[in-house]
C-alpha cells in the first residue's frame, strides 16, 4: 500500500487550479507583449521575445491625458464611499433588527427579506429617471447613493448580531448606565467585527465591480469607473480594427492593473471573510 493519499483528489484540484488560473495567466503574459507580439499568432500562453510591461504601463497611465488613472481613482472613490456607507447602514440595521423588539419589526424585516428577491437591475432604469428628475444623473452621487442599498447585507448582519452578541452583555452595559449608542459602539461592535469586515468586503467588491449602474447613470467619461472605462476602450478598439491594435494592449495591461487591488485585499483579509461568509449559510 504505497498509494499516496488522495491522489485523485489532488489531481482534480490541480486541474481546477489550471482552469481557474488560465485567463489570469494569459493576462499576465499578454501584458508583457507589444502589439506585434500580441498579434503574432503564436505562443499566446507564453512570453514573447521582448519584455514590454514597463512600456505598456507607461502608455496606460499617459494615454488620453491619463484617463485611466482618473478612472482608477473614480473606482476607488465609488467603492469606498459606497462600500463603507453600505456597511454602516447595514450593520446598524442588522443590529437593530437582532437586538430590539419593537412594533412593526417583523413586518419591516419581512419586506427586507422579500426585497432580496427583487432583481436590482430592474430598478436601475426607474432609478435613472427618478435621479434625472432631481438632476443627480451624471454625478458621483448617482453611483454612490444606490450602492448603499443591500438587503442581503442587512440579513447577514442580523444573523451575525444574533449569534455573536449575547443579550446579557447588552443588558449589563445598560444597567451600568451606558446609552444605546455607546453600548453598540463599545460592546456589540467589537464582537461583530468579522461579520462587519465580511460585509465591508462584499459591498466594496460589488461596488468596484458594478457595471450596469454606472453605465446607465454616467454620460461624461471623466466620471467613469474602470469597468465602464475599459468597456469604452473595448468598443473603440473593436470599431476601428487597424488603429485599434495599440489600444488592445492598453486594455490588457489596464485589466491587469485593475484586478490587483481586490486580489490583494482578499489575500490580506482572508481570516475575516472566510469565517464571516459561513454565517449567511448556517441559518
Amino acid at each position: 500500500m504505497t498509494r499516496p493519499r488522495h491522489l485523485w483528489a489532488k489531481l482534480l484540484l490541480l486541474a481546477m487550479v489550471c482552469y481557474f488560473l488560465v485567463p489570469v495567466w494569459w493576462l499576465v503574459v499578454a501584458s508583457t507583449k507589444n502589439a506585434e507580439g500580441l498579434f503574432s499568432g503564436k505562443g499566446a500562453l507564453w512570453f514573447a521575445g521582448g519584455f514590454h510591461l514597463v512600456d505598456n504601463l507607461r502608455d496606460l497611465f499617459t494615454f488620453n491625458n491619463g484617463e485611466y488613472l482618473r478612472w482608477l481613482g473614480n473606482s476607488a472613490l465609488y467603492a469606498f464611499a459606497g462600500g463603507i456607507g453600505c456597511t454602516v447602514v447595514s450593520v446598524l440595521a442588522g443590529y437593530g433588527f437582532a437586538k430590539f423588539r419593537f412594533r412593526g419589526r417583523n413586518l419591516v424585516f419581512a419586506a427586507v427579506l422579500g426585497s432580496v428577491m427583487v432583481p436590482l437591475t430592474a430598478l436601475v432604469i426607474p432609478t435613472f429617471v427618478l435621479m434625472s428628475n432631481v438632476g443627480l444623473t451624471d454625478t458621483i452621487w448617482a453611483v454612490i447613493l444606490p450602492s448603499l442599498l443591500s438587503p442581503f447585507a442587512v440579513y447577514l448582519m442580523r444573523v451575525y448580531a444574533s449569534a455573536s452578541v449575547p443579550d446579557e452583555l447588552l443588558d449589563a452595559a445598560r444597567i451600568d448606565g451606558a446609552g444605546e449608542l455607546r453600548t453598540f459602539w463599545q460592546v456589540a461592535l467589537p464582537l461583530m467585527r468579522p461579520g462587519v469586515v465580511t460585509v465591508l468586503l462584499l459591498s466594496v467588491v460589488s461596488t468596484w465591480n458594478n457595471f450596469f449602474l454606472p453605465l446607465t447613470m454616467l454620460s461624461s467619461s471623466k466620471l467613469y469607473p474602470l469597468t465602464v472605462g475599459i468597456g469604452l476602450w473595448e468598443q473603440l478598439a473593436s470599431s476601428n480594427n487597424g488603429g485599434g491594435q495599440s489600444l488592445w494592449n492598453l486594455i490588457i495591461v489596464g485589466s491587469l492593473v485593475s484586478i490587483v487591488p481586490l486580489i490583494v485585499a482578499f489575500l490580506t483579509l482572508q481570516k475575516y471573510w472566510q469565517g464571516g461568509l459561513a454565517v449567511g449559510s448556517l441559518k
Partner: protein, 310 residues
C-alpha cells in the same frame, strides 16, 4: 435618552415602561438609515417603474394612460420573449453546472489538507475578486481567433477551432465565463458550511462502516443543503438579470449579441437608444415579476429542507 432613564416613575408596572419605550425608539433609530435608503432606492423606483409602465408616450399623442397595454405588449413582444427564453434556458444549465463545480471543489477541499489545498482554495475563489467586465473580456480574448490560444492550439493540430462567440456557440462561450466567474464564491460558501459541521458525526459514520464517498453524499451534502438553497437562489436571481457579460462581449462577437439578447439588455437599449422609458420600465417590471415568481416557486418547492427565510 439618559433623561428618559432617570425620570422617576411611580408604580411597579410603569417602572419598566420608559425603558421598554426607550428600547423601542432605539430600535427604530438603528434601522432608520437603512430604511431611508430602502425607501429611496428600492420602494420608490419600484413604485415609479410600476407607474411609468402604465403610461405610453407617442410622438403625436403625447403621454397617455395605457393601462396594462405595455405588459400585454411586452409578453407578446418576440424580442422580450426571446430574451426571457434565453435567460431561462441559460439558468437551467448554468446553475446546476456551477453548483456541481462548487460542491465538488468544496468536498475535495474539505477532505484534502496541506499547501496544495490552501492554494487551490484561493485560486478557485480568485475570479470572484475580478470584475465581471474583465472576466468576460479575458475569456473573449482567449476565444479570439486573432490572438487567443484556442485558435493557435487548434492550428497546431491542423483543425479549425470553434469560435465560441459565434451565433451557434455563444451559449457555451457564456456558460464557461459565468461558471468560471462564480463557482469559486459558491465554493467558499459551501466550504464554510462544511467546516462548521461537527467532525464527530463523521467519526460515528466511519465506525458504522461508511466509506468516504458515502460520508460525502449521505452526510455532508444533506448537511449543507441550506447553503445550496441559498446559492441556488442567488444564482437564479443573478442569471435572470444577465447583462454585463453579453454586453461586454457584444463588440467582439460579430453580431451574435443582439440588442434584445437578454431582457435587461433589451430594456437598456429601449431606454437609452430609443428613449422609450415607459416601455423599458414595463420590460424591467415584467422581468422583476418573472424573477420574483421563479424564486418564489423555487423556495416553495424547497421549503422543507430549510431556506434562508426560516
Amino acid at each position: 435618552m439618559t433623561q428618559l432613564q432617570t425620570a422617576p416613575r411611580a408604580g411597579v408596572r410603569e417602572q419598566t415602561t420608559p425603558r421598554k419605550k426607550r428600547k423601542r425608539i432605539a430600535g427604530w433609530l438603528f434601522i432608520l438609515p437603512f430604511l431611508v435608503v430602502f425607501l429611496a432606492f428600492l420602494v420608490a423606483p419600484l413604485l415609479y417603474a410600476g407607474y411609468l409602465s402604465l403610461w405610453t408616450k407617442g410622438l403625436a399623442t403625447g403621454t397617455t394612460f395605457a393601462g396594462f397595454d405595455n405588459y400585454t405588449r411586452a409578453f407578446e413582444d418576440p424580442s422580450f420573449r426571446k430574451g426571457l427564453w434565453f435567460v431561462l434556458r441559460f439558468s437551467l444549465v448554468v446553475i446546476p453546472l456551477q453548483i456541481v463545480v462548487a460542491l465538488v471543489a468544496a468536498l475535495v477541499l474539505d477532505e484534502v489538507t496541506g499547501r496544495l489545498a490552501r492554494f487551490s482554495r484561493l485560486v478557485i475563489f480568485l475570479p470572484y475578486a475580478i470584475p465581471a467586465v474583465l472576466g468576460a473580456l479575458m475569456w473573449g480574448f482567449l476565444y479570439s481567433p486573432s490572438f487567443g490560444p484556442i485558435e493557435q492550439i487548434a492550428t497546431a493540430f491542423d483543425v479549425r477551432a470553434p469560435f465560441l462567440l459565434s451565433q451557434g456557440n455563444i451559449f457555451y462561450g457564456l456558460l464557461n465565463v459565468v461558471t468560471w466567474q462564480w463557482s469559486g464564491y459558491y465554493m467558499i460558501i459551501i466550504y464554510a458550511a462544511l467546516r462548521s459541521i461537527d467532525s464527530s458525526v463523521y467519526e460515528a459514520a466511519r465506525i458504522d462502516g461508511a466509506s468516504a464517498r458515502q460520508i460525502a453524499l449521505r452526510i455532508k451534502v444533506p448537511m449543507v443543503s441550506s447553503a445550496l438553497v441559498l446559492i441556488l437562489i442567488f444564482s437564479l436571481i443573478g442569471t435572470l438579470q444577465f447583462f454585463t457579460e453579453p454586453q461586454i462581449l457584444a463588440p467582439i462577437a460579430n453580431g451574435s449579441v443582439t440588442p434584445d439578447f437578454t431582457p435587461n439588455i433589451y430594456a437598456f437599449n429601449l431606454a437609452f437608444r430609443y428613449a422609450q422609458f415607459n416601455y423599458a420600465s414595463a420590460i424591467s417590471f415584467s422581468l422583476g415579476f418573472v424573477v420574483f415568481l421563479a424564486v418564489g416557486i423555487f423556495m416553495f418547492a424547497t421549503r422543507k429542507k430549510g431556506s434562508i427565510f426560516t
